[in-house]
């Protein structure tokens, strides 16, 4: 059977979109490996294998062509985001369970690719941080890149307390919130914050890697500027205002944008087209909302980072945002002739 017009098409495919997204993550991953050791590579492999297996299983159960849909690469993006947002030294079963949950529940039970209202990776993150808050807060100390020791933590039973620490965000939060220790931000983070130690040692290099990859995605027209720009701008403005109000209690814009998952969130998580807003104005609102909520959760909440919860909360609002921000159709614009 012959198709109808248009009879030719641009050579674009979902696979190419997904593969380029994965490629854009590589600079960030490189920084990650440099500062936190190669354990993350093992986690990436674990998550990828689990995701592919779970996807194949679900496609088979749902009667979809397995190879065709598996090869689109969308499930790998989810897997990589999980591996990159989880601490690299979580036990292997945690990553496997999280990835399986993301693929089976958050993606396929909602109807598969294109139908899930929530970002699957963030659903997995939220589920696991609620279920295993302890494990999800333990990061390897910067510079602790001993692969064997890390593997012992991933696959063994033993947790080596000496090499485990909280993320700078988590550390700042606990230090500020514990009743007895009323310290200031600058005292906690170190007074003369220079580059290399702004978002916590190593973190800003990783953030820089994500920024680089993200900008390349914008240049490749895979994502538009709206979401990263609105996200970063909002985070800068909100944290800047707070710092201006009370510098001893609130960390500044540089810290907030360069630490934790901010850069990853701005370019790779909030830009998930399936669960995000789609209209240009809607994208601005959506990303600004995530940034604002992220800052609120980071500053006043009880979790190490706020990106995941903020993303899910804004995912809920997407249908409304999209409905309200429909761009005017040709000839129906305001201010035109009668």
């Amino acid at each position: 059977m012959l198709n109808n017009s248009p009879f030719f098409r641009q050579p674009a495919s979902v696979r190419s979109v997904m593969l380029r997204t994965l490629a854009a993550l590589l600079p960030g991953i490189a920084g990650y490996v440099w500062f936190f050791g190669p354990a993350v590579l093992v986690q990436l492999a674990l998550a990828s294998a689990t995701a592919l297996a779970a996807e194949a299983l679900m496609l088979r159960v749902r009667g979809r062509p397995v190879w065709l849909f598996l090869s689109d690469g969308s499930v790998l993006v989810t897997a990589w985001l999980i591996a990159l947002t989880f601490p690299p030294i979580v036990p292997w079963w945690l990553i496997v369970a999280a990835t399986a949950f993301a693929v089976v529940v958050a993606k396929h039970l909602y109807g598969g690719l294109g139908q899930n209202p929530f970002n699957p990776a963030m659903v997995a993150f939220c589920v696991m941080i609620v279920a295993y808050p302890q494990l999800m807060s333990q990061w390897p100390a910067v510079g602790f890149t001993d692969f064997a020791a890390q593997m012992q933590m991933v696959f063994g039973e033993r947790r080596i307390d000496a090499v485990v620490m909280a993320t700078p965000l988590d550390f700042l939060r606990t230090q500020l919130h514990t009743e007895e220790a009323r310290e200031t931000v600058s005292a906690i983070l170190g007074a003369g914050a220079t580059f290399g130690n702004i978002g916590g040692k190593g973190w800003e290099w990783i953030a820089g890697g994500y920024l680089l990859g993200g900008l390349w995605l914008v240049q490749q027209r895979i994502i538009t500027w709206h979401i990263p720009a609105a996200f970063l701008a909002t985070l800068v403005v909100v944290s800047g205002l707070a710092q201006f109000a009370d510098a001893s209690r609130y960390a500044g814009p540089l810290f907030h944008t360069l630490t934790g998952g901010a850069m990853l969130g701005a370019f790779f998580i909030a830009t998930d087209p399936v669960s995000g807003a789609t209209t240009p104005r809607g994208k601005l609102i959506f990303a600004a909302g995530i940034a604002l909520l992220t800052w609120v959760i980071r500053t006043f909440g009880a979790y190490p980072d706020g990106i995941a919860f903020a993303t899910l909360l804004m995912n809920i609002c997407v249908p409304l945002i999209d409905m309200w921000t429909q761009p005017p159709v040709f000839g129906h614009k305001k201010g035109g002739p009668p």
Binding site: P65, V66, W67, L68
Partner: protein, 184 residues
């Protein structure tokens, strides 16, 4: 305690007044539900539902006397729309009232017609023209396909002809793609 009671009482009064005002201000004339149901019905006026026309059936449905699945010309889609409108559960067409058929129009075989006018009297939408002892014919553009003219005809010269597809009323088909074409 007294304050709380007062607040409640004042609240009740205000709300009651508002409701009373609204019921006067936004009073709806007639029975919009019947109109809404009637708008969904196909207006074939065929009586297959057991009522003498679409409007009486609409009234019966509105009153709850008739079920929503008694209209064969409206078909499954009509039942769905009624179910949506009335907030009821969808149910398949009731078999005792007939089956869904493709849209047809009545055609009189003019060689057989004896000009008895019985069909003219039966037609609910005056879509048959003719006079006593003169040949009759159906104005097909106005025929609803109700089949009410078939039984009265003494010579059985009326047949139902399905409305064919032509270039004007042809519809683009729902895009169907074989997912498994290159699967595996």
């Amino acid at each position: 305690m007294l304050a709380a009671l007062l607040v409640m009482a004042v609240g009740a009064l205000v709300l009651g007044a508002a409701l009373g005002y609204a019921s006067v201000r936004f009073k709806v004339e007639g029975d919009p539900l019947v109109e809404k149901i009637d708008a969904i019905l196909p207006q074939t006026q065929c009586g297959q539902c057991g009522y003498p026309g679409c409007k009486p059936y609409a009234q019966a449905v509105a009153k709850g006397e008739a079920d929503i699945n008694q209209c064969p010309p409206g078909g499954e889609e009509g039942i769905r729309k009624l179910a949506d409108l009335l907030g009821r559960e969808f149910k398949p067409l009731s078999a005792e009232h007939g089956v869904e058929k493709p849209k047809s129009v009545a055609v009189i075989d003019e060689n057989l017609c004896i000009g008895c006018t019985l069909c003219i009297q039966a037609c609910p939408v005056d879509a048959i023209v003719g006079a006593a002892k003169q040949m009759h014919t159906v104005v097909s553009a106005q025929c609803t396909g109700c089949e009410l003219c078939l039984p009265p005809c003494p010579v059985d010269c009326i047949v139902m002809q399905p409305v064919g597809e032509d270039v004007e009323n042809w519809k683009w088909k729902y895009p169907v793609f074989t997912l498994h074409r290159r699967a595996g």
